[in-house]
């Protein structure tokens, strides 16, 4: 049943060594990067005490996890680090494991690669067993190396080898748990996308279950979630081993189930047959605009949920904003202690963030064109204008609706956490004031789409530039004029900045320029050849 396991493991490593290395670099940057920086953030007794208060905030507990204390009833740098990082590092390990397992079982099976391998002298279960062998090896190696690394870069108590290794061990154990969960879904579902979808759904559920468990201090709920149980080891303080052992026991049972299911099913099939898709199209799928909506509906909804979730999580620190700023020297320096500056900074980043889906939705028109999909539409009774307008309208609606949702999310969080919450109207204006810049970026994308369809990536470079000057520029104090080269830098950062006559004029200019670019864009798109990729 398992014959050829070693050969297949080698094959996986040969195909994936670079991928695994990149994951390792990402994990190391996350775990070790923050591990070496934390002492600067909470190095003094005062900032440690501030941070202890911050971390006890229910929103922080929900996001990161329960705080825990030494016998003297204080948090150490190590316990603050582990509270902040353990769940999120484990989450990343989970994502890595989900991708790994789906890729080497279901996805390969769909492409027919496993069929070739099965015809060789290898066992029925070897493709699953080799995938899991590599997963175990990967998690163990990551755990050991990250643990060792943490003890090397850590200071202020974090160099403690036992604690550092315990941290590594916990994230490895959590990663393995998700490898097993994914392996089970890969047997049940009949294609890689549903297997991936279910696995990620479980990952998110487990994160939320642990959030609920931490807020209610409910031990049973914590044990249920692979992301919750690992926190019970109280890394750097008590270093308990039993949570990891219990989680491993769950994984062993789960792996047994996955192997049993794998032996019970046919190749290429799942235990659950896919339900047949729609035989007929919904009524709205009868125009180019209807099609555009059909294609963009799912990402649109995901963004519409993600944006307010993000702003809610940022907004939830508003209750303790002063303490938060005080505890991080870099923020203290940037804002001069004024929370409103931080709000403005956050909102300009969110404005850049909502521009991403907006541009993406517009440029969907380009991938439709190059992939030969638009050809079907344009060869029927639909004009270029009909074809482009669907993507344009969705992009435009996105560019206006998302900032609105952003302000709603932020306001809700402020309302819940602040004694004297900011008024909704002022938050709304703070978010919506960037609309001219968003419209301008969209205009640039239109122009590229119409006149340089093979160079649309220029707009992403400009977005990257804008991110760099506004985000890093603020943190590192780059010259201010650099940000004026981005439309987002021309807009006053409310609520701290003031709206002057000049800035109103600039906003009008940006809007007029955007409108002009839309008109030119439609004209250019109408008058040019469709360009296909070969």
């Amino acid at each position: 049943m398992f014959a050829g396991n070693i050969i297949l493991c080698k094959l996986i490593l040969r195909r994936d060594w670079l991928r695994i290395l990149i994951w390792f670099v990402v994990m190391a940057a996350l775990v070790l990067g923050f591990g070496s920086a934390i002492n600067e953030i909470v190095g003094t007794d005062e900032s440690l005490a501030n941070m202890t208060v911050m971390m006890a905030n229910p929103a922080m507990v929900a996001m990161m996890g329960q705080t825990y204390f030494t016998a003297d009833g204080v948090m150490t740098i190590g316990s603050i680090y582990a509270t902040m990082m353990l769940v999120w590092s484990a989450l990343f390990m989970g994502i890595m494991n989900i991708f790994h397992v789906v890729r080497h079982t279901r996805a390969d099976e769909e492409r027919g690669r496993i069929e070739v391998i099965r015809s060789l002298p290898v066992g029925r279960l070897s493709s699953l067993s080799s995938t899991m062998t590599v997963a175990v090896a990967m998690n163990v190696i990551f755990a050991v190396l990250l643990g060792l690394g943490l003890s090397v870069v850590g200071t202020g108590g974090m160099e403690d080898l036992g604690g550092a290794m315990m941290f590594g061990c916990q994230i490895g154990v959590a990663g393995l748990a998700f490898a097993v969960i994914t392996a089970i879904f890969c047997q049940i579902c009949s294609n890689p996308r549903t297997a991936m979808g279910f696995s990620f759904f479980v990952l998110i559920m487990m994160y939320m279950i642990r959030a609920a468990a931490d807020m209610q201090e409910n031990i049973v709920l914590s044990i249920i979630s692979p992301l919750g149980i690992i926190q019970m080891s109280k890394v750097y303080v008590e270093n308990l081993l039993w949570p990891a052992l219990l989680s491993l026991a769950f994984s062993v049972v789960g792996a047994g189930l996955a192997f049993y299911l794998c032996s019970a099913r046919d190749m290429g099939a799942g235990l659950v047959a896919p339900k047949p898709g729609k035989r007929d199209a919904a009524p709205y799928l009868s125009s180019p605009r209807g099609l555009a909506w059909r294609l963009l509906k799912t990402p649109f909804i995901i963004w519409a949920i993600a944006i307010p979730s993000l702003s809610m999580s940022y907004g939830s620190i508003m209750g303790d904003i002063e303490t938060f700023i005080e505890s991080i020297p870099a923020l203290q320096e940037m804002t001069g202690g004024d929370p409103l500056i931080l709000v403005g900074f956050f909102m300009v980043l969110m404005a850049l963030m909502v521009t991403i889906p907006s541009i993406q939705f517009l440029l969907k028109a380009r991938s439709q064109e190059s992939g030969g999909y638009a050809e079907h539409i344009l060869a029927r009774a639909a004009s270029r204008y009909d074809q482009l307008s669907g993507y344009f309208i969705i992009a435009l609606v996105c560019g206006v609706l998302m900032p609105f949702l952003n302000s709603v999310g932020f306001w809700l969080a402020c309302y819940a956490t602040m004694d004297d919450p900011l008024a909704f109207s002022s938050i709304l204006v703070t978010c919506m004031i960037y609309t001219p810049a968003v419209l301008f970026m969209l205009g640039l994308a239109m122009i590229l789409l119409a006149y340089l369809p093979e160079r649309t990536s220029i707009v992403w470079m400009y977005m990257g530039y804008s991110f760099a000057v506004l985000y890093l520029g603020a943190l590192m104090g780059l010259p201010e004029w650099l940000s004026y080269l981005s439309p987002f830098g021309l807009i006053p950062q409310l609520p701290a900045d003031e709206v002057t006559g000049a800035s109103v004029l600039l906003m009008v200019i940006l809007t007029v320029a955007a409108a002009t670019m839309y008109v030119l864009g439609f004209k250019g798109y109408r008058d040019r050849d469709m360009k296909f990729s070969h």
Binding site: G277, K278, D280, A281, G371, H376, A381, S383, M530
Partner: protein, 296 residues
């Protein structure tokens, strides 16, 4: 409006590369028009210009008497089109795509659609990402033939179909032809065009090198013949229209201009034919003979 398609002196450049130079075409109502040429000859480019997806650099291109670029939308109301590479949206089902396609034109026939789904043996409830190339072509063909169009433009529509489905496709073409509709069919398979088309244009490197009815073109083609005779054949090289004589131990192979086939066979019977194999001309052979004819 006497002509469905009328193309005069069409030239198209991709940057400095000339894809079409001076193409002329004329398709009449009720005609099945074959457009053949090897890969890269310019068939798809011509069709995309007919559909207003690409713009001609020079020349007149009209469909139903209207300008192919300016009046594209109006023209398309009466056109059904199957592209060469059928790419479909991976997360829509075949049924959804067919519905979308037929709804983007004016008249269509629900019962015809269901009948065609049946005939082409397509499962419309599957997502397009699971379809093979042939199945994607079926989706496009079903959508095209359930529309009541006046002109069907088909760009190498059978390249992914199995022989059984190819037959069904040919029946569909015959049906619309009987209804008096015009069909413009591009292909690189001579036999397919031979079976279906009234008139043919041959394109190569962006130039139309021959236009005529199938019967007219047959004069240009060569048939290859393999014979085994009782006595050794002598003097075959003096028979008009014979080329490329090759002798193996047991049999003799040669090519013959299709119009001379009778005299060659009469000549051969004098040596006692015991076995004969005749294969129809291929596109390559047709080009060979074309170039020899124009040279000689």
């Amino acid at each position: 409006m006497s002509e469905i398609i009328n193309v005069n002196g069409l030239t198209k450049n991709y940057g400095s590369f000339t894809a079409l130079s001076g193409v002329d075409l004329s398709v009449k109502p009720g005609e099945v028009y074959g457009f053949i040429g090897p890969n890269g000859a310019g068939k798809t480019t011509t069709i995309r210009i007919l559909l207003g997806i690409l713009k001609a650099n020079s020349g007149d291109v009209s469909v139903f008497g209207k300008d192919a670029w300016k009046d594209a939308v109006e023209i398309h109301e009466n056109i059904a089109y199957v592209p060469g590479d059928v790419n479909l949206w991976s997360n829509l089902t075949g049924g959804e795509v067919i519905d979308l396609f037929v709804r983007l034109r004016k008249g269509y026939n629900e019962s015809k659609k269901n009948e065609l789904i049946e005939r082409f043996d397509l499962d419309p409830t599957k997502k397009c990402r699971t379809y093979s190339k042939g199945n994607r072509q079926k989706v496009a063909l079903i959508a095209a033939f359930s529309s009541a169009a006046d002109l069907y433009i088909l760009d190498e529509p059978t390249s992914g179909l199995d022989p059984l489905m190819e037959r069904i496709f040919q029946d569909c073409v015959a049906e619309v032809k009987n209804e008096g509709k015009a069909v413009f069919l591009s292909s690189h398979i001579l036999q397919e065009v031979e079976r279906l088309c009234d008139k043919v244009s041959i394109i190569r490197d962006g130039l139309i090198i021959e236009t005529g009815t199938m019967a007219e073109l047959r004069h240009l083609t060569r048939t290859s013949v393999t014979v085994t005779t009782e006595r050794p054949v002598t003097g075959l090289e003096h028979v008009a229209g014979v080329h490329d004589i090759r002798l193996t131990e047991t049999d003799l192979t040669f090519a013959i201009d299709t119009k001379e086939i009778n005299s060659a066979l009469t000549f051969l019977t004098g040596f006692g034919v015991s076995k004969i194999g005749v294969s129809p001309p291929t596109l390559e052979e047709l080009f060979m003979s074309h170039y020899e004819n124009t040279r000689g």
